[in-house]
Symmetry: C2
Subunit: 199 residues, 2 copies
DNA sequence: GCCGATGTGGCAGAAACTGACAGATGTGAG
DNA sequence: CTCACATCTGTCAGTTTCTGCCACATCGGC
């Protein structure tokens, strides 16, 4: 557990435990149709004590973070090795698609994400994962932006890309999910990248 | 208290009480340098019982909402009667400036806003006020956008304008506030509106 | 096998909330 | 102006979330 070492066994176990608890919470939330389940119930269903739950998730709502972090990492991985010949818009859309298992969103996930969008405390955790994505996307866009200038010229386009994606996605989720998500994303990203002068 | 009537005396009093409690909380937060003050203390300083506090603010963090709502309304008012001859970028920057008392941010406000930016639960309340601003800005941009098209073509530009403003503002706050905020805003808004084809 | 480091659970308690009731204070009809 | 009614407020008890502390189990290196 030194510094930049890869995770030790104990750390990996803790991570797995957090993921398991998160998944348990997700299943309970979807089954209930709301997010009001008590810590006691989630902890018991996951086979741990409430005290251990709170050790891993200081605030109850943190329980969903591993889920969002996982998809954020999937997007980051999909974006890591994109050749410069690919159109940025297509690369970003493809990265998002790659983050969904099977390239599409299941009914189960759709119900869960609806809860996450409509419950402010949980929506906040989603946004925190998006904040990490901002850095990844900033790294990707870096090579495609005019060099120099104010620091904001680097971070703002990435920030806007992530938030445009979020806006489109939330519209898609709340409006019944019967539109072509990829097409909507392409459209929105083109708007953002055009303004940011991405080549 | 029928439907679209103007507020009755009782309602106005409740609104004033909420504003007074919010202001009290702000002063305590700034004096402490953090937002950890207990409900009991804020309520006592405002001259009400904790029970009354929670009646007006179901969740403790809601206490700052009146403050953000007030500035959001100020921006909305400043934007309401802008003639079409004014450049949208200038109109938006002017609206933000008009929302600050005296056209600039006091040291007191700066400290308070720093706390709001760095504390996720409070940052969320700020974003909720921004969400209301989105509708106002969508109304303003409506006349300046190509007609027709998908609903997202109306809401997305406003959403991006608000979030670009937020990003610039948070950068400005956290980096010491010694840059030219207006210039940064102008720059960011030009980027967004160029992509959205605002005329 | 031993031993320090770390994770876990139980318990007590702080703090954030909520429901219910009683008293105070508006609000409106006559 | 007065009375009846609605609304707001405070007190109190109770639930839920979250934390500090300690004992115990497990892990990981020697």
């Amino acid at each position: 557990m030194a510094k930049g070492e890869r995770p030790t066994l104990t750390e990996r176990r803790a991570e797995e435990l957090r993921a398991a608890i998160a998944r348990t919470a997700m299943e309970i939330f979807v089954a209930d149709g709301d997010t009001s389940a008590k810590v006691e119930r989630i902890a018991e269903a996951a086979g741990v004590s409430p005290r251990t739950f709170h050790r891993h998730f200081p605030v109850k709502e943190d329980v969903v973070r591993p889920l969002f972090r996982a998809t954020a990492e999937a997007v980051a991985n999909a974006l890591r090795d994109v050749p410069d010949t690919v159109d940025p818009v297509e690369a970003l859309v493809a990265a998002w698609t790659a983050a969904m298992p099977g390239g599409r969103i299941s009914e189960f996930d759709r119900r869960f994400l609806t809860l996450m969008v409509t419950t402010p405390e949980y929506r906040l955790r989603w946004q925190e994962a998006d904040a990490e994505l901002c850095e990844v996307i900033a790294g990707y866009l870096d090579r495609r932006l005019p060099a120099g200038g104010h620091p904001l010229h680097r971070t703002l386009p990435a920030y806007l890309v992530v938030h445009a994606t979020r806006h489109v996605f939330e519209h898609w989720i709340t409006s019944g999910s019967d539109e072509d998500l990829d097409a909507l994303l392409r459209d929105a990203l083109r708007m953002v990248l055009a303004g940011a002068a991405v080549r």
